[in-house]
């Protein structure tokens, strides 16, 4: 069921995770996990609860630092990188529990995503005139395109704290997109959504990938969705990688079936 559209091009390796282990005190969150993400693909990370999926994403964007192993991005092995450095290098993400700026409007939230691209210094910001204003408007235009793309024009000026859950998730995606990332990390983008919202979200993810060529690594629980939209799937269990490959290959892997359905069905 893998999609093979003419416009999509899967390129070289963008991100390579090599033998990564991570522990909190005595708890091992990840043990010797290796996989890669290629440019332009949609890569899924799945696994039961507590398998270490979110920890994996946290390692990739520098929030946690692995105790062993290395992560290389665009061919450069990264040492201890702070999250804002990851952002500067083109990695954006969304969160499992929505992490929007609750006191700000939808527009401001998405504008915040453009922050790294805005350069005008303190002096011009004080004046909000001339170059600073021009810059503000230029970025507003980009943000408006994101807003159009996600079909959230109507809630532009609403404080995000007042929006329903599904829309908040969409705004969060918008904020990540506004940064024009090369690698987009989505942590359970469809958790807690109803069928219709899920379908919308799937469409947005596929469109982002096709129209902007953004590489996407996502965590998701809904197996149906994962198998439909991703090119390749990594399966984690108890912090270890148990399978890696195309959706079809993973689906028929006995270890995966065991992990998801228990030994009785194997």
């Amino acid at each position: 069921m893998t999609r093979a559209t003419a416009s999509r091009q899967i390129g070289d390796t963008l991100l390579k995770v090599d033998g990564v282990s991570l522990g909190f005190g005595g708890v091992k969150a990840l043990t010797d996990v290796s996989f890669d993400v290629r440019k332009g693909e949609i890569r899924a990370i799945i696994g039961p609860n507590g398998a270490g999926k979110s920890s994996m994403l946290n390692c990739i964007n520098g929030f946690y630092h692995p105790s062993h192993g290395s992560i290389s991005y665009k061919g450069i092995v990264r040492g201890a990188m702070r999250p804002h450095e990851a952002a500067k290098n083109g990695i954006a993400r969304t969160f499992q529990n929505i992490a929007l700026f609750k006191g700000m409007s939808t527009l401001d939230n998405i504008m915040t995503g453009r922050l790294l691209k805005m350069k005008r210094g303190f002096f011009w910001q004080c004046l909000h005139w001339g170059p600073a204003r021009a810059e503000e408007i230029e970025h507003r235009e980009v943000v408006e395109r994101v807003i159009d793309f996600l079909e959230i024009q109507a809630i532009r000026k609403t404080p995000v704290g007042r929006l329903p859950y599904g829309l908040q998730k969409r705004v969060e995606l918008g904020r990540a997109l506004a940064a024009e990332p090369e690698l987009l990390l989505l942590d359970e983008p469809m958790a807690g959504m109803n069928l219709e919202e899920k379908e919308d979200m799937c469409r947005f993810i596929l469109d982002v990938n096709e129209q902007f060529g953004t590489t996407i690594a996502l965590i998701e629980h809904d197996m149906g969705v994962v198998m439909d939209i991703s090119d390749r799937v990594v399966v984690l269990e108890y912090g270890r990688k148990i399978a890696d490959g195309t959706p079809d290959a993973v689906k028929s892997d006995p270890k995966v079936i065991e992990a998801y359905l228990g030994t009785g069905h194997a």
């Binding site: 006191g103 401001d108 915040t112 995503g113 922050l115 790294l116 004080c126 503000e136 408007i137 235009e141």
Partner: protein
């Protein structure tokens, strides 16, 4: 004129991003400024100018300063008084050390000095949050006041420990010292406040303000977007302290003309904090409303019971003030955390639709 925005279409993003997108608001502001700059100095009594309007303006600057740090960037500070003292003493040293320096420059520079001090005390904000930081800012409060009380250099070795503003003029008008009229002081103050308020508004509605609010609302997410937490918080400390410093300088030079360090004790810090809670956290307008409220309340308490025939003793009024402030803080935090500014906004929304309920 009816308060309506129907028919006012915005055709550019620039128009949509204006501070006052509605025409009626812009007209109202123009009238307000004209009254404040022209009518008030011509008509108001000296008493009204120097005991109500000037302190109101000075407090408004301090409240904007604290609101930037606490309301916008989410870093609670209890050291406002200390930073104001810092501005006052810096201005005194600069004005007496360099008599030819223009007084406007003196105030701006003393704001700059305070900004540096603020950054120094803001450094712990990288590692600590919330009330831990509040306690850290208390260190600034107590240390700075002690410093200005104990080190005679700051008061040019005067025996009384009091600093008095030397006379200085702007365009030939005395704005500080004995010869300065309340009118000149008021207009000078108002000019300062107008410019500083505009700059603050510009900062908070642009890139920097969004970074501050992002840190306030969810610092981890902000960091992942690419905002550097220390950088952003320190900038907030710097800008906030600049405003507090200028407010302190205005206080010492324009409002009271002579001042001792104890005028900026911890109660001053709380007073400013109450202004922004009552006025509205994260609102420039709220800083003005809160300042007005807190300046007016004691005057109200002084005059109304007397007028009603039940005069209160001075100490009773002081206790009443404490109780009312305390009660109002709790009330606003429960009922309307966005303070008077939010009530104002709701009022405007209602007015836009009036006389229809929806």
């Amino acid at each position: 004129m009816i308060y309506r925005e129907a028919g006012q279409f915005k055709t550019s993003y620039a128009a949509d991003q204006a501070i006052f997108p509605i025409l009626q608001d812009r007209i109202a502001l123009a009238i307000l400024l004209a009254v404040a700059f022209v009518a008030v100095p011509l008509m108001a009594s000296d008493y009204f100018l120097s005991t109500i309007l000037i302190p109101f303006l000075v407090f408004a600057v301090a409240a904007i300063g604290l609101n930037i740090l606490t309301g916008y960037c989410g870093q609670l500070s209890l050291g406002t008084g200390g930073f104001m003292a810092c501005g006052a003493y810096a201005a005194y040293k600069l004005a007496t050390g360099f008599p030819e320096l223009n007084i406007v420059l003196v105030f701006l520079l003393s704001g700059g000095v305070t900004a540096l001090v603020g950054v120094a005390f803001g450094v712990p904000s990288l590692r600590i949050k919330g009330f831990y930081l509040a306690v850290a800012t208390l260190a600034a409060q107590f240390f700075l006041i002690w410093l200005f009380t104990k080190v005679p250099w700051f008061v040019n070795y005067s025996a009384s420990g009091v600093i008095s503003a030397p006379p200085r003029a702007v365009f030939g008008w005395f704005v500080t010292g004995i010869e300065a009229t309340p009118q000149a002081k008021y207009v000078f103050c108002l000019g300062f406040v107008a410019v500083l308020a505009l700059v603050a508004k510009n900062l908070v509605r642009g890139r920097i303000g969004r970074a501050w609010m992002a840190i306030r609302d969810m610092d981890i997410a902000a960091e992942i977007i690419g905002i550097r937490p220390l950088h952003t918080k320190l900038l907030a400390f710097a800008v906030s302290s600049f405003y507090c410093g200028v407010a302190g300088a205005l206080w010492a030079f324009i409002y009271t003309s002579s001042v001792e360090a104890l005028a900026f004790d911890i109660n001053r810090s709380f007073q400013i904090l109450f202004m922004i809670i009552i006025g509205g956290l994260g609102s420039i307008l709220g800083s003005f409303l809160g300042a007005a409220f807190i300046v007016m309340l004691p005057i109200f308490l002084n005059s109304v019971p007397t007028a009603m025939g039940v005069p209160l003793s001075t100490s009773m009024i002081a206790h009443m003030e404490f109780m009312i402030f305390g009660g109002l803080i709790v009330f606003f935090l429960i009922v309307e955390p966005h303070g008077l500014a939010r009530l104002w906004q709701i009022g405007k929304e209602k007015l836009r639709l009036w006389p229809f309920p929806h």
